[in-house]
């Protein structure tokens, strides 16, 4: 509990990393996000919660412009990273996505070796000068993703040969290997057992020291455990956003209260 208070204080002093203003997202004619305003704090964990289909993943993907890959998808409004509009014409998505990494809902390792999975990001961004540096990044990333001990003896084995939970941690390691400033995680623990979940949560908590983390989760407990800020989405609206402790103990909106007490979902 002491810890918790300290965290709250720390986040209050932090600056805003990402702002969204009146963001609408359309898939063709259907509107999936209907006007969202949010300020995401730097070096804190923000949790997106809400019933299935409410648009959490959609909104998360607007932050690193992964929605660009869906032809029917259209985004209006403004999203800024460190005060710069990420939808500006001058922005190159490659550069943006190097700064804003992503872990997907379903583990999606490349059908290559574990080593190459992690090495791919640093390699394309030219982050290392030699093999020794690359090895260091790989070990560090795998350690932070709590999977080093399981794979250190078989780095050349295919990443797709790992179990579902190991694959997801491999994907997390791959995402942090490029040292992004922001890490977006879409239900990273949905395929994990409780032990691996605890390890990933620990990792998320640790990442908060350097990174801004946004996590989508269906687990209230997880949101309460790892996040400092929580945003509750419902039918494309951002219903309530605030300190995690406030949302869970003292929700202001009726819908939030119903959701966290299990009445809608």
């Amino acid at each position: 509990m002491n810890d918790m208070r300290y965290i709250e204080r720390a986040t209050d002093m932090n600056e805003t990393k990402i702002t969204a203003r009146d963001v609408h997202v359309f898939y063709g004619d259907s509107e999936a996000i209907k006007g969202v305003d949010v300020d995401i704090q730097a070096r804190a964990v923000t949790a997106f919660i809400g019933p299935s289909g409410c648009g959490k993943s959609t909104f998360l993907r607007t932050i690193n412009r992964m929605n660009d890959t869906i032809p029917s998808c259209r985004v209006t409004g403004g999203i800024t990273l460190d005060g710069e509009d990420i939808y500006d014409k001058r922005v190159d998505v490659v550069q943006l996505r190097q700064k804003i990494g992503m872990v997907f809902q379903k583990p999606n390792p490349f059908p290559k070796s574990i080593y190459d999975n992690i090495a791919y990001g640093p390699r394309i961004h030219g982050l290392t000068k030699n093999k020794a540096e690359m090895d260091e990044i790989i070990e560090k990333s795998l350690r932070r993703a709590a999977i080093w001990d399981e794979v250190k003896d078989r780095l050349q084995a295919p990443g797709t040969g790992l179990s579902g939970g190991q694959q997801q941690r491999l994907c997390i390691a791959r995402a942090i290997a490029t040292s992004p400033e922001v890490l977006l995680m879409d239900e990273p623990c949905s395929a994990l057992d409780p032990i691996a979940t605890a390890q990933v949560e620990e990792l998320i908590d640790e990442l908060r020291q350097e990174y801004t983390v946004v996590i989508v989760t269906h687990s209230m407990q997880q949101a309460a455990r790892v996040s400092q800020k929580t945003a509750f989405f419902h039918l494309g609206h951002l219903v309530e956003y605030g300190d995690t402790s406030d949302i869970f103990t003292n929700p202001k909106d009726q819908r939030t209260e119903s959701y966290i007490s299990g009445k809608i979902g």
Binding site: M66, V94, N108, F110, I124, H125
Partner: protein
């Protein structure tokens, strides 16, 4: 445990919903399944029967083309005779006389009694013999003055007699051979100097004119097909795969790309003869490329193969899970990097399979070649250099087979079947390569 279950089965009437009793619905489902299995087995059997009939037919008709009747003939290469022959106007005519003399001697030495001599006796020999002899003399001047054991082709009638195609009764009105010749042949056969042997010329040699079927070979048309395949591979693979990658991964979805898509599918269904006439109009009449050259044939076949390669490449790219693209893009890879580093390697087996199927189709295509003149007795020698081969008029395997099948002499008919065996051999080889490549590139994900 066993006791009770045994009792339950034997004594008590089966209870309702028992697992041991199948209800009527399940029985119907099972019999439907059985029926379907029989349909499948029936369909496969019919297919297999057709295949077996086809293959045995081809092998029975065609395998004899690989063996040819040869006549062993030792010839003493007399320097004066050869000098005189080289000095004469009709060189092969002079060499012919050398051969006739040697033949007479050979026949006499084997104790065969005959009134025939010279030109008449020479009818059992192929017309190709003088040319062959002269070629040998020119290539081996050192051999002059010695006696060399030659093995010349017998004439196609004699060959037909050995293969059961020609009977004595058939020769009554034949000006090429008489029954009396066959009597000599029988005796020479017993003497062991005339017989059927494997004939490499058929695989490696050039086509021959209408009156020398025994000399005709597939070699140069295999070479022609080979040159065309090089052209197709070098053009169709990069263009087709490039077009497919662009359409599948980069092109914005619009009416325009839709139209292109529909047209590519339509192109795949266009009859090959249409491509042939297109090639004739564009490459030969407008651009004035060499007629009958493998280069033009290759270009036409490229047009024909492109849609196949594009369609199969697109299918292979579509089959790569989108999560792989997302993973790469999410790491900050550019689209190009995502495609070339991750998507393409996964699509490779499918692309290669499609390409080889397209090539195999092109290899067996005849109709367009007829229109651009790649059929007929075109090439007699291997091209001077590798590059020149692209621009030297030549035939191709299927066109050669078509050509032989349409010639009058039944000796060519056998060669057409033999040519089909060679063509099938190449197709089989390509399919095996396709399987090997697919195995090699296939990776699980």
């Amino acid at each position: 445990m066993t006791d009770t279950s045994a009792n339950g089965q034997n004594n008590a009437a089966p209870k309702k919903n028992s697992l041991f009793v199948q209800d009527a619905r399940l029985k119907r489902r099972k019999s439907a399944e059985k029926r379907f299995q029989w349909y499948g087995i029936g369909a496969i059997s019919i297919g297999c029967i057709f295949l077996v009939v086809l293959l045995t037919n081809i092998l029975m008709n065609g395998s004899s083309a690989f063996r040819q009747t040869f006549i062993d003939l030792p010839i003493t290469l007399n320097a004066e005779e050869i000098e005189a022959a080289e000095a004469s106007m009709l060189k092969t005519g002079a060499y012919k006389n050398i051969i006739y003399a040697a033949l007479e001697e050979q026949v006499a030495s084997k104790g065969v009694e005959t009134e025939m001599s010279g030109k008449d006796l020479g009818k059992i020999m192929s017309d190709s013999a003088p040319g062959e002899l002269r070629g040998f003399v020119l290539a081996n001047p050192d051999a002059i003055g010695t006696t060399v054991d030659f093995s010349f082709f017998a004439s196609s009638r004699v060959d037909g007699y050995f293969k059961g195609r020609v009977e004595r009764a058939d020769l009554v009105n034949d000006k090429n051979l008489d029954a009396a010749h066959l009597d000599i042949i029988d005796q020479l056969k017993d003497a062991g100097i005339v017989g059927l042997h494997f004939n490499a010329e058929f695989i490696f040699g050039a086509d021959a004119s209408d009156n020398r079927p025994e000399q005709a070979g597939m070699g140069l048309s295999i070479l022609g097909s080979f040159y065309m395949m090089i052209v197709v591979l070098l053009l169709a693979l990069p263009i087709g795969v490039g077009a497919a990658i662009y359409l599948e991964e980069f092109a914005p979805q619009s009416k325009f790309t839709d139209v292109i898509e529909v047209n590519i599918s339509n192109l795949a269904a266009v009859p090959s003869i249409v491509f042939g006439i297109l090639g004739l109009a564009i490459f030969i009449q407008t651009m004035h490329f060499t007629k009958s050259a493998p280069l033009v044939g290759g270009l036409v076949l490229t047009l024909m193969t492109l849609p196949t390669i594009i369609i199969s490449t697109r299918a292979a790219l579509k089959a790569v899970p989108p999560s792989i693209r997302e993973a790469a893009l999410g790491l900050g890879a550019s689209r190009m990097q995502a495609v070339f580093d991750h998507v393409l390697p996964l699509a490779m087996p499918g692309i290669l399979t499609g390409t080889i199927i397209g090539l195999a189709q092109a290899l067996g295509e005849t109709a367009p070649l007829l229109l651009i003149g790649m059929v007929g007795f075109l090439a007699t020698n291997t091209p001077e250099s590798f590059i020149a081969g692209f621009d030297t008029p030549n035939s191709a395997m299927p066109a050669q087979i078509y050509q032989w099948a349409s010639r009058a002499d039944p000796a060519f008919y056998e060669r057409a079947w033999g040519g089909i065996i060679i063509l099938l051999f190449f197709l089989l080889a390509m399919n095996i390569i396709a399987v090997i490549l697919r195995r090699k590139f296939e990776r699980r994900w």
